[in-house]
């Protein structure tokens, strides 16, 4: 093709004449995007969001966010003639009287689960590879905001159908809101338009769910994308990849089509789930009444850790001067979420403070190469994961025939002990993996060829690792350590004199010291020494 087709040329000229789009396209059409499977995790969240907007809009055409009482006369026979809220009746209408309505409802719900799931694993990828480091701290914070808002969006969304299950979630939300010291009662009355459940909360949650939060999400997602675009994507270490370049495929045409395909895959998988995996069968639960509940009520997965925290908490409550502070609700509702979200938001800055590292980073770390960070991350995941698991302790108890209270006690202890054990195990694993890397570089890999030497000794011949693997390993970066050594006259540097300064220097030392430096290329000299480091069990030669 020597000239663009007339249609494209004409439109392009029209647009360029008016807004000078050519300048933008000149710079960006061949923008390079690096490739790695883990870079697709965030895309899952992005595409789920698009699917949520599409299916959500469809659902609004029939959903009636009202709490007024109606008598159900739709197609679902078991509930015919039952009095229920408009919201529940219209949700049933969408499920049974609108063609494709049930499918869209189920796709919407599955996409929501995948949206938060995609964001979560994307965030973990960013954390463990250190991709939040300068200059990407702002985008990291935007990401944390997105995740927090997504939780709220999910909560307001699954409260809407006004069935018995969603009502249970709403009741718990209200109980938590009411427990807030000083303002709690007012917060609850203002949110629900008076006493629980009132007649307003569904319509209020509706406008929050379909307008307010999606609007903010859309703005933040756009900002997230723009910053990623401007700063260029990080890349994994490898051949020719440096902090000064980005290696990969151009936006036009390869990345564009690949992304489109991935959107369709995501949509396809969610459509499959929506078709074959029933989710939130509201017609089985019946209309909401505050007097009833079904056993085994579970929230959507992303609320599970809060649910678990509520279940594990002992019954602490303080009464003083005619006032009540309900620690048994406040602590589980605020502390785990606070620890996780605040910890995540502050991590880039804490790490900078500890390492003193103010450089830009564009090559991602392999998790093993920053063992303390990785251990902290796995600790956090263990804390979250245990709370999440214990959020279903009734199901665990019922399905695995465990004593219910034993699961609670296990959880109460495990949320403290588990993260510590996870930290230690992860740290050791990282060091072990680093040693393996060092060994691959210095000894090469096993070739499977056994050689007999003239003196009768047998050895296995090692061959140098494949170039791409070696380059990937050599991408390991030193973590800077703050200068804290005393000078010739026994005086420590300025920053390390105060108590905090000394602590900082110590932490820096622990965080940054490289326990397993890579020794590269010195195949013969480093031989014996390396073996000592690797340990007898790893001896590859047969003597």
């Amino acid at each position: 093709m020597n000239a663009p087709p007339k249609a494209i040329a004409g439109v392009s000229t029209f647009v360029d004449d008016r807004i000078g789009a050519g300048n933008f396209l000149k710079r960006n059409l061949r923008k390079i995007f690096p490739d790695h499977w883990s870079f697709l995790l965030g895309e899952i969240a992005l595409y789920s969001f698009v699917i949520l907007l599409l299916t959500g809009t469809f659902l609004t055409f029939w959903f009636k966010p009202g709490m007024g009482e109606v008598t159900y006369t739709g197609n679902y026979a078991p509930l015919y003639g039952v009095k229920m809220s408009e919201a529940y009746a219209s949700a049933l209408h969408i499920s049974f009287d609108v063609r494709g309505g049930l499918l869209m409802r189920q796709i919407h719900h599955w996409a929501a689960l995948l949206f938060v799931g995609g964001m979560t694993v994307h965030m973990l990828r960013i954390f463990f590879t250190g991709a939040y480091r300068k200059p990407r701290e702002l985008n990291w914070i935007i990401g944390i905001l997105l995740l927090s808002l997504a939780l709220l969006e999910g909560l307001t969304g699954y409260s809407l159908p006004d069935d018995l299950l969603s009502g249970a979630g709403l009741r718990i939300t209200q109980g938590v809101a009411q427990s807030i010291p000083i303002v709690g009662t007012y917060v609850s009355f203002f949110l629900f338009g008076g006493e629980y459940p009132g007649h307003d909360v569904i319509s209020r949650f509706y406008s929050i769910h379909i307008l307010l939060i999606p609007g903010i999400l859309l703005a933040l997602v756009s900002a997230h994308m723009i910053l990623m675009w401007v700063q260029k994507h990080t890349q994994m270490p490898g051949k020719n990849r440096t902090e000064k370049n980005v290696v990969g495929a151009p936006f036009y045409p390869a990345f564009m089509i690949k992304s489109g395909a991935f959107f369709l895959f995501t949509f396809g998988v969610i459509a499959l789930l929506g078709t074959f995996a029933q989710i939130n069968p509201i017609w089985l639960f019946g209309p909401y009444t505050p007097a009833d509940i079904s056993a085994g009520s579970q929230p959507d997965w992303y609320m599970g850790f809060l649910e678990g925290a509520l279940r594990l908490m002992p019954s602490w409550e303080i009464n003083f001067l005619d006032h009540t502070v309900t620690l048994s609700v406040l602590i589980p509702a605020l502390v785990p979420l606070g620890i996780v979200m605040t910890g995540l938001a502050l991590y880039p800055f804490l790490e900078q403070w500890i390492t003193g590292d103010r450089r830009e980073h564009h090559v991602a770390d392999r998790p093993r190469n920053n063992p303390h960070r990785t251990a902290i991350g796995i600790s956090g995941m263990t804390f979250y994961g245990l709370l999440w698991l214990l959020g279903a302790n009734d199901e665990l108890s019922a399905n695995f025939h465990l004593d219910l209270y034993t699961t609670t006690w296990f959880g109460r202890i495990a949320v403290f002990v588990g993260p510590a054990i996870a930290y230690w195990i992860t740290y050791r694993m990282c060091i072990g993996l680093q040693r393996k890397d060092a060994e691959v570089l210095s000894h090469g890999v096993e070739s499977g060829v056994i050689k007999r030497l003239p003196n009768g000794q047998y050895i296995e011949v090692h061959t140098p690792p494949a170039e791409d693997i070696a380059e990937h390993i050599r991408g390991k970066k030193e973590i800077p350590v703050l200068e804290s050594a005393e000078d010739g006259e026994g005086i420590p540097p300025k920053g390390a004199r105060s108590a905090i300064g000394r602590l900082r220097a110590k932490m820096s030392q622990a965080y940054g010291t490289d326990r397993v430096p890579l020794t590269d290329g010195h195949h013969e000299e480093a031989h014996e020494e390396e073996h000592a480091g690797v340990g007898a069990g790893d001896r590859k030669e047969l003597h």
Partner: protein
């Protein structure tokens, strides 16, 4: 667009727009716009394989077309109306939709991977920060603008502007006041304390059927009954506080925590609303007399004034004083003596207060 490259007042180096290559370098460092085959970093596919892949892609696109058409056909053919019809329609619509999407996605993927060249292009990165010249220029411009605007010099202007903004900023908050009434003491009362139309004590009726309960008929120790106030059977706001569980014990089973004056012939009524976060405490284990809230497993000993034996709830389920009317039906003798449901800031130790008032 962002082509502000030169600074008229000095002969500084031309600066670049962030994240773009230098003005005198090619746009994409290693790759001209019309990449002929054999350019470094662009590795073309074997034409024979590409042609083979094209046939596969075409097949996948054809499947996507057929599945998409199938979706439209399914919409027309499969009506909803009954549970099984809805299930069929869902299966047909979802199946065709998923197939169309997946086939299209697979086709695009094969296209990228087997027909388009493999890319290993390198683009340069540049430090995100602007150079010192730009920073200096922006700083000067900022100061100049601030000076020109007079915002710094004219104190009165500045202060009155801030003053003017303050109430406007508060307006949205003020406007939200009518979102709800103030709580007052409403959380301390339930409809059990409301006077009835005929002035008689309010009857306990069975949830769902609305039947009043004759004390003599409720004689199945071990049973648990969900009970609501007569006249408020469908008032959700009333039910959220006033729903009860009714149990009957043999006299020897009742322990000291239960207020015997508030029972009738071994029949005890507790608030069903959990004191943790308000779920209905609906499960009952008859051998241990444990009431269990299914939400967070707060467990109460029904024989002992519903005191907490396990779980996060901090207070017992309040007991309702009950008796019988002249026809022998169970009635509430008064409202709960303490607030029901989850704790709140203004609640205080209502139990201690109630004990003091009683003694």
């Amino acid at each position: 667009m962002t082509e502000q490259n030169e600074y008229p007042e000095s002969g500084r180096v031309r600066t670049r727009v962030l994240g773009t290559p230098p003005a005198d370098a090619p746009i994409v460092d290693s790759d001209p716009i019309h990449a002929p085959e054999g350019v470094p970093g662009v590795i073309p596919q074997d034409p024979v394989k590409a042609r083979k892949a094209e046939r596969l892609v075409a097949l996948l696109f054809l499947i996507a077309f057929l599945a998409g058409a199938g979706f439209i056909a399914s919409y027309v053919i499969f009506q909803v109306g009954t549970i099984s019809k809805t299930a069929t329609s869902n299966l047909a619509l979802g199946g065709t939709l998923a197939l169309a999407l997946m086939a299209l996605a697979a086709g695009l993927t094969v296209w990228v991977r087997q027909i388009m060249p493999k890319y290993n292009l390198i683009q340069e990165r540049h430090e995100m920060r602007s150079d010192d010249g730009t920073r200096e220029y922006v700083k000067e411009t900022f100061l100049q603008g601030a000076d020109e605007s007079g915002f710094v010099k004219h104190k009165l202007l500045r202060r009155t502007l801030l003053l003017a903004a303050a109430p406007l900023g508060l307006l949205p908050l003020v406007l939200l006041k009518d979102l709800g009434p103030l709580p007052g003491t409403s959380l301390r009362h339930t409809v059990w304390g409301e006077p009835t139309k005929n002035g008689k004590p309010r009857r306990l009726v069975v949830e769902g059927t609305g039947q009043p309960i004759r004390a003599a008929d409720f004689n199945s120790p071990g049973g648990i009954l969900s009970v609501v106030p007569e006249g408020y059977e469908e008032d959700l706001n009333a039910l959220a506080k006033a729903t009860l569980i009714l149990l009957k014990f043999r006299p020897e089973e009742i322990k000291s925590g239960t207020n015997l004056n508030w029972t009738h012939d071994g029949i005890v009524a507790y608030s069903k609303i959990c004191t943790h976060v308000g779920c209905p405490a609906a499960l009952y284990e008859q051998t241990t007399h444990h009431i269990l809230c299914p939400c967070h497993q707060s467990t109460f000993d029904a024989a002992d004034g519903a005191r907490v034996v396990f779980g996060p709830a901090a207070r017992p389920l309040p007991q309702l004083p009950i008796g019988i009317d002249e026809e022998g039906y169970l009635v509430a003798k008064s409202d709960f003596k303490v607030p029901v449901g989850p704790s709140f800031w203004e609640r205080g130790d209502a139990e201690a207060e109630a004990r003091e008032n009683a003694s």
